[in-house]
């Protein structure tokens, strides 16, 4: 599973655009006071899909929920077959 690190995320919304373009729609605007970008773990298909990682410009802003490991910039296993 993936989550957004709000200390690093710039709210540029590239992940939202990419996820929507692929019709996965796991990235959404949270219904909380700051209305920040979040990733719905039920809809996100990571590691099957790694598309948002390829277009995120803010290093460290998407992390693996379980390990806390940053996946931006994308590690090799996310894109090299």
């Amino acid at each position: 599973m993936l989550k957004v690190d709000h200390e690093r995320c710039t709210e540029c919304r590239m992940c939202y655009i990419v996820c929507r373009e692929l019709d996965i729609n796991a990235v959404y605007i949270a219904l909380e006071p700051l209305h920040r970008i979040e990733i719905d773990p039920e809809a996100c298909t990571f590691p099957g899909c790694t598309a948002c990682l390829m277009y995120c410009p803010a290093a460290g802003s998407i992390v693996e929920t379980e390990t806390g490991r940053s996946v931006v910039p994308p590690p090799a296993e996310a894109w090299r077959s």
């Binding site: 710039t10 540029c12 919304r13 590239m14 655009i17 990419v18 929507r20 373009e21 790694t50 598309a51 990682l53 390829m54 277009y55 995120c56 410009p57 803010a58 290093a59 910039p73 994308p74 996310a78 894109w79 077959s81």
Partner: protein
């Protein structure tokens, strides 16, 4: 290859979404054309900075800030990108709605960038109010032809032509920022660059996304290739990138 370019390529250029329909085209133009331009631009920027750092006065910082103010934000970007937003046909709005969103966001980013250049001028005491810049010619002129600037306000080439500018030119911006942060200690100059870093990288990512997802047919790829040729040859002065008719 310079280590800054190698770092940029490894982190942001080579990672590619598996199955992205336009990725093969993007990687082809990257290998065959962009890297050459990025290498040259980075080398020029590093050499310029090294020369600038040899001088004992701060005139170069003022010249940079004035030039940056003219090139980004209130003058260049609002006019250029608004024209590009308006030039997408109604019938194509649905297809390019995310492209439109990204470009609208970019206008706001570029306005912040012009403010950062103004911060240097204000912080160094060269102007006392941003409005004074309206009366300073250097803060209002661009030395380059305006293929993507004012002259394109009416005939827009193709909605995806700008993907070449986002991908190629914004990478140069990112590399320039890396070069300044690598060599310059002045806190205001670092601020001028550091606080643009994520946004310039986002603008590069817009180009990468547009190429990977939308540039999948001969027509759009031809427009990107043409725009890239312009950026490399007319703007960049790279002779090998000249159109066949010129060579």
């Amino acid at each position: 290859m310079h280590k800054l370019l190698e770092e940029f390529l490894d982190k942001w250029v080579w990672p590619t979404m598996p199955g992205a329909p336009g990725a093969e085209f993007r990687l082809k133009i990257t290998r065959e054309r962009c890297i050459k331009g990025w290498e040259l631009n980075l080398a020029r920027t590093l050499a310029d900075i090294e020369e600038e750092l040899k001088t004992s006065d701060e005139a170069w910082k003022k010249a940079h800030a004035l030039r940056g103010y003219a090139a980004e934000g209130v003058h260049m970007s609002i006019k250029q990108m608004s024209a590009q937003l308006l030039s997408v046909d109604i019938a194509e709005q649905e297809k390019y709605i995310d492209l439109q969103r990204m470009r609208a966001r970019q206008i706001w980013d570029e306005c912040k960038h012009s403010k950062l250049h103004a911060d240097v001028l204000l912080g160094k005491g060269w102007v006392s109010d941003e409005r004074e810049l309206m009366d300073i010619a250097q803060a209002n002129v661009q030395p380059l032809p305006a293929y993507f600037g004012l002259s394109m306000m009416f005939p827009h080439i193709h909605p995806l032509a700008r993907a070449a500018q986002n991908y190629y030119t914004e990478a140069n911006a990112c590399l320039g920022i890396m070069a300044y942060l690598h060599l310059v200690d002045d806190p205001l100059v670092r601020h001028e660059h550091l606080s643009q870093q994520d946004e310039e990288l986002m603008h590069f990512m817009e180009g990468k996304f547009q190429l990977d997802f939308y540039c999948t047919d001969e027509t759009s790829q031809r427009h990107v290739e043409d725009a890239l040729g312009y950026l490399l040859y007319q703007i960049g002065g790279i002779a090998e990138a000249a159109p066949a008719a010129v060579r």
